[in-house]
């Protein structure tokens, strides 16, 4: 199959590569760029394990053609850490036991990262609704919600202190 040139920014770094037009973004990230944080759980955009951030929106990279990401700015879980350690969100997931097998976690945290920018001060109900595109089979969500609420509080405190 004829290949096309794809240029995109991934986690702040420019990437340029040849791909088949039918290749999915998650495939390019995992197989061509070696970023195995985004996972494939369902192939049908229900589970959200493949969630990445594309131009400031959460997308399910299993249902985005790489060609659609041409010129895009993509962030994966690998690009969300803090220098030398865990980000506030990552730390909150650990602190509140918001993960078990870890398979949904990269997508969950990547979505939570975007969600807290859409709604920095959410209610528990808003967290549950805003995270409903990401499935978890292990935690029953209660501690994920707790972690996101805690991270929101901490991020807001940091923001207020800075202002």
């Amino acid at each position: 199959m004829a290949k096309m040139q794809l240029r995109l920014t991934v986690n702040g770094e420019a990437a340029e590569l040849l791909v088949e037009p039918r290749e999915l973004l998650v495939y390019v990230l995992r197989e061509r760029l070696g970023l195995t944080g985004p996972h494939v759980g369902c192939d049908t955009s229900h589970c959200g394990a493949c969630t990445v951030d594309m131009d400031g929106r959460s997308v399910k990279s299993c249902t985005v053609f790489a060609a659609q990401a041409d010129g895009a700015d993509v962030t994966t879980i690998e690009g969300l850490g803090a220098p030398g350690g865990l980000s506030v969100l990552q730390q909150a997931f650990r602190e509140h036991h918001g993960l078990q097998c870890g398979f949904c976690t990269p997508g969950m945290i990547t979505r939570a990262h975007r969600f807290l920018q859409e709604n920095p001060n959410p209610s528990e109900e808003e967290v549950r609704f805003g995270m409903a595109g990401n499935l978890c089979r292990c935690t029953g969500y209660q501690n994920i919600v707790k972690a996101i609420m805690a991270a929101a509080a901490e991020l807001n405190a940091v923001r207020e202190a800075a202002e």
Binding site: Y27, T36, G41, F103, P106, A132, L135, C136, R137, T139
Partner: protein
């Protein structure tokens, strides 16, 4: 000189992060950063990708397979069919249940999605293209998806390979689609009690077919090193050591030349216990091509072909006196096993531990019979987040109790309390042959009822019914009660084995000179957090901080042999092995300390992290000091080093229990439910890490919610799977999932070294009847006795319609 600044005993205990502490998980640092190592993350040089051609038909003869067009596609390396595997005798393989199953279709297919050919290609896209190019000529055969119809005299013959065979691995077969009849208890005595009872409640309880559906599907990478003759298989295996043994027996490769590695596993819930055709085909393809071969199933393949759960039709009769004392229980199960009997149960238990179905109650006589039946559905029958068939048993008895309460006109909570096994009856011998190790059901029950304000709830419910009848509301309240008893921790080698391997488990510990350690176990975590919690068990046993103990599992080249992780067996069995290995370390440490302190062994006592001379608390040696001494001192009569291994054969199962209450509001006109409150009290014996226990309970309850309220693997009459994607197969989101309140009592297991019983599966076992009973209870005032799960909105709406509540 010992330590510079002495710290208090409490501080020393705290520093260990041992038993009972909510230690943060060590696994999370990599998982939260996307640095987990799951099988699909593995990339080996020259690796090929396998993909299956699968049957679109549920029952058909395979007349021919034309692979020429596929083979002509650039990038395609091989296309394997049963004909290619037959010379190796690998076109069929043994199942865990004493049956055999096709690896690739041998002349016919028996369920939709069955593996017909295995394509091996340079990448996934090419493999998928090639799958489309394989031309299979099918001749359709009559399909049977109903186990009752499968047993009719004129039902189509499904398993032609078994034709004329009047007995199987579990006794006589009375029909060409019959697999076995398995029985426990005293039939004559039970029939007699039922025939002469004051009150008998009779009901058919169906626990529908569903699927564990972990977020990560099954997969493997097989890699044959043709130079050294060593086969390495990485895969999503809940029992890596057993996979190695099976791979050796099937392939003829000696076991020391096979290395099986379970990397991080993205959830298992029973789905990853069995051996699937994908593993066999990947191994063969790697041997044939000399290159690593990866096979990862997609979600539709996962839901349609690997490892269904449940599908038990349970016909029950429960007898009681007029005042509600249960006198007998009988149950006959028609068990739909699909096309091959691939149930993952200990060999001697073709219906698992279903005979725990007397539940938490003191029932003098009982009998169960389970008929296994072949149908044109996928094989499996795994323990989906439960011990073997225990969730079916718990659902059955907890429904029968409710039905009996209706029959007696009694409150279901009172009926339970009246019949619980009393605290002083433990160890309790059940009518179906189990020895319940310990329990205190009344205490748990009273605590639960008090916590939810049971009497007030009933009052509110009654008022709501009146308001409904007056036309003031369209919402009803259901109060779902459950008191369950699990049976986990399989199991004693004398009666529990998988393919002949006794169900012990193991732990090997090495203490390093500077006082840190590595412990390796025969189990494998799939999210349970073993690396965190087993280090806690060990920290309390050997007095080294949990943070200084690395726990490793899943590599058969380094870990001791064990039977793996399923059936809540890790804590009861491998956890016990860990404690016992720790005690061996401590026993040797005591001899070393005695030498160093120049006293007799018997003059020392253990204190948190050190041996202290009795009566002289200032004279002691810490475990850290002892570890160093074991490597640098010549101690007469004591070997250098500090290592231990324990293989633990449990003397009995463990019997965790719990009391759950679900309060549900149901809209009669839409069938939509809202869970207003869910209270879960679990007694899992000694609590190792409360944070992890609570997480397990939340997760298990959510899987129970899914099963009870909407999740199913449904077939149409010609065997099409109607629920093959997550569009149709219900997994609850954060939005649909309620908030849970957790609670506990603590009744330690008397035979487990640290008294722990296991908890991961309890919330599924107890949760399903709690949710289901809530639905039933809402409609009890209007005459509902039994309505089968899953209780999705449509089915609840139908209950209301059939009861005439839509006016």
């Amino acid at each position: 000189m010992n330590e510079m600044a002495p710290i208090s005993r409490e501080e020393r205990v705290e520093k260990l992060k041992g038993l009972g502490c909510s230690r943060k998980r060590v696994e999370d640092v990599r998982f939260t950063q996307g640095k987990g190592n799951y099988v699909d993350d593995l990339k080996l040089p020259g690796m090929l990708h396998g993909d299956f051609v699968r049957s679109p038909y549920a029952h058909a003869r395979v007349k021919s397979v034309d692979k020429s067009a596929a083979l002509a596609l650039p990038g395609v390396v091989a296309v394997l069919t049963a004909e290619d595997l037959a010379p190796l005798n690998l076109h069929w393989m043994p199942t865990l249940a004493g049956d055999k199953q096709m690896v690739l279709a041998d002349g016919k297919v028996l369920f939709q999605g069955q593996e017909v050919a295995f394509v091996v290609a340079s990448d996934r896209y090419v493999a998928a293209d090639a799958v489309d190019l394989v031309v299979v000529d099918y001749e359709e055969l009559p399909v049977v998806t109903d186990p009752f119809k499968a047993l009719q005299p004129d039902a189509p013959v499904l398993r032609e390979d078994l034709q004329g065979r009047t007995s199987g691995a579990h006794g006589d077969r009375r029909h060409h689609n019959h697999i076995f009849l398995w029985e426990a208890g005293d039939k004559a005595a039970t029939d007699e009690v039922i025939a002469s009872a004051d009150v008998v409640a009779e009901e058919m309880v169906y626990y529908h077919r569903t699927h564990p559906c972990p977020l990560e599907t099954c997969g493997c990478v097989a890699s044959m090193d043709t130079v050294n003759g060593k086969l390495t298989v990485h895969g999503t295996f809940q029992a890596p050591h057993v996979v190695r043994t099976v791979a050796s027996l099937l392939s003829g490769i000696e076991e020391h030349k096979i290395r099986v590695i379970s990397p991080d596993i993205g959830g298992g819930f029973g789905n990853k216990v069995g051996v699937y055709p994908g593993y066999v085909c990947s191994i063969v393809a790697s041997i044939v091509t000399g290159r690593p071969v990866k096979w990862i199933e997609d979600r539709m393949e996962n839901l349609t072909a690997t490892a269904f759960a449940r599908d038990y039709w349970m016909k029950g009769k429960i007898a009681a006196t007029k005042d509600g004392r249960i006198t007998g229980l009988s149950c006959h199960v028609t068990a739909d096993h699909g096309a091959f009997d691939a149930c993952a149960d200990p060999s001697k238990f073709p219906a698992g531990f279903f005979h725990i179905c007397t539940g938490s109650y003191d029932i003098p006589v009982a009998h169960v019979g389970v008929d296994g039946v072949y149908t044109n559905k996928a094989p499996g029958g795994v323990a989906y987040r439960c011990s073997f068939r225990v969730t079916e048993a718990a659902y059955f008895i907890e429904r029968m109790i409710e039905v009996l309460a209706i029959e007696l006109g009694m409150d279901a909570a009172e009926l339970r309390a009246k019949n619980f096994i009393r605290k002083e009856q433990f160890p309790y011998h059940s009518a179906l042959g189990w020895e319940y190790d310990s329990g205190d059901y009344h205490t748990a029950w009273d605590k639960a009822l008090k916590a939810v304000g049971y009497a007030d709830l009933r009052k509110e419910q009654a008022e709501r019914v009146e308001a409904f009848r007056r036309g003031e509301t369209r919402k009803l309240i259901g109060i779902g009660l459950t008191h369950f008893t699990e049976i986990v921790g399989a199991g004693p080698v004398k009666n529990c084995d998988i393919l002949g391997m006794g169900m012990f488990d193991s732990c090997e510990i090495r203490i390093h000179p500077t006082g840190s350690a590595v412990a390796r176990l025969g189990t494998i975590s799939q999210g349970q957090g073993h690396a965190t919690t087993f280090a806690q068990i060990l920290a309390s046993e050997i007095g080294l901080p949990a943070d200084s103990i690395t726990v490793e599992e899943g590599d058969t080249d380094t870990a001791p042999y064990g039977l793996g992780t399923y059936g809540s067996r890790s804590t009861p069995v491998a956890g016990a092995a860990t404690a016992m290995a720790g005690r061996k370390i401590r026993a040797k440490a005591q001899m070393i300390a005695a030498y160093l302190l120049e006293v007799h062994d018997g003059d020392l006592e253990w204190d948190v992290d050190r041996f202290v001379v009795k009566g002289a608390p200032e004279r002691f040696k810490t475990m850290k000091e002892i570890a160093f001494a074991s490597y640098n001192q010549a101690i007469p009569g004591v070997e250098p080093g500090l290592e231990a291994v324990s293989y633990y054969d449990p003397p009995n199962m463990t019997y965790p229990f719990g009391a759950y209450v679900c309060v549900m509001e149901i809209d009669v006109d839409t069938g939509v439910h809202e869970i207003r409150q869910f209270y879960a009290l679990d007694d899992c014996g000694t609590r190792i890490n409360p944070m992890v226990i609570e997480g397990q309970v939340h997760g298990g309850l959510t899987e129970a919610l899914a099963i009870a309220m909407g999740q199913e693997i449904a077939y149409d009459e010609i065997g099409n799977v109607k629920t093959g994607t997550l569009m149709d197969f219900f997994l609850p989101t954060a939005w649909e999932t309620p908030h849970y309140t957790t609670d506990f009592t603590e009744t330690p297991s008397p035979h487990h070294p640290i008294g722990a019983k296991g908890v991961g599966e309890s919330p599924n076992v107890g949760g399903v009847p709690a949710f289901s009973n809530a639905v039933h209870d809402a409609f009890r005032p209007f005459g509902l006795r039994q309505s089968h799960m899953p209780h999705d909105h449509w089915r609840i709406w139908k209950i209301a319609r059939d009861l005439g509540l839509h006016g």
